[in-house]
Symmetry: C2
Subunit: 145 residues, 2 copies
DNA sequence: TTGAAAATGAATATGATTATCAATTTCTAA
DNA sequence: TTAGAAATTGATAATCATATTCATTTTCAA
């Protein structure tokens, strides 16, 4: 369920920092990998509490931060809401349905090449970017019958 | 100083809504057009208070919201900070220097065409998008001498 | 097993934004 | 011009998401 390499990365990071393994962190890690989604902290908290209703708000905050520090999670911000998603080794952006909230990850090398071009034009050295496409997904589009 | 058409747009909007003209709104509008920048509310407040130190926080919030409602300003969000910029008739995105905070507006039709393509691929109907390129501007790049 | 260090979770603090409300200002209509 | 209804202001309080504090509990190395 939990990818071995991710688990090891976390343990190595905790070892290095002198952090302790705890029941709560185990639960949160397990729940994090059970869902392949881009959930808000509120939503992750709800998931985690299905396993242990006593887990606190702050612990979820702290543990998601920990997961992003050791490269297991990415912290994202869509429309003012912080979300944590599974880290990937390739860069990707997001397509968001404004009606149902569905989020699709996509990659487009051509766009990234053009972004580099824009930066060159303005003499900027590109470090990172943020791109979100907002629209209406197929399921939310009224059919034309 | 204040573009006539913008001033008229605001007056028409206020007329329609039954809003009153006030000294504070005049000052804020004037200051808004004095600066061609993407300032935060905090920063606009500071500008406005140079003309009238008694103007309150809430008034600036409300008036910038008013300006965006009638199409004079655009509300933006960079890195968790809300900013208000001059409205333009063409869509544009932003290039942001991570060191000095310099913001450059740019337009790139090719990227927008590719964004449409991505949406088509995932069967989304594109409504709007958000793209920010973060980097280091020329002035902030150490020269290689 | 023990004690130092870290983690938890409840509560509180913070920072940005929004709402409340009494006092003031604007504007319409007589 | 003026009265009064409606809107605005600005100080303050409320809200919301996130971060911090701290006493208690847990972990882990010796």
């Amino acid at each position: 369920m939990i990818p071995t390499d991710k688990k090891e990365a976390l343990l190595a990071y905790m070892e290095e920092k002198g952090f302790h393994a705890t029941r709560q962190r185990d639960i949160i890690l397990k729940e994090f990998f059970r869902k392949h989604r881009h959930l808000t902290i509120e939503e992750w908290l709800a998931e985690v509490r299905k396993s242990d209703p006593k887990i606190g708000y702050a612990t979820v905050y702290r543990t998601l931060k920990l997961l992003s520090e050791c490269g297991i999670a990415f912290k994202r911000e869509f429309g003012g809401q912080v979300r944590y998603e599974h880290a990937t080794d390739h860069h990707h952006d997001h397509l968001i349905c404004m009606r149902c909230g569905k989020i699709v990850e996509f990659e487009n090398k051509q766009i990234e090449i053009l972004q580099e071009k824009v930066c060159k034009k303005y003499q900027f050295k590109l470090t990172t970017h943020k791109m979100e496409l907002y629209g209406i997904c197929r399921r939310c589009t009224p059919s034309k019958k």
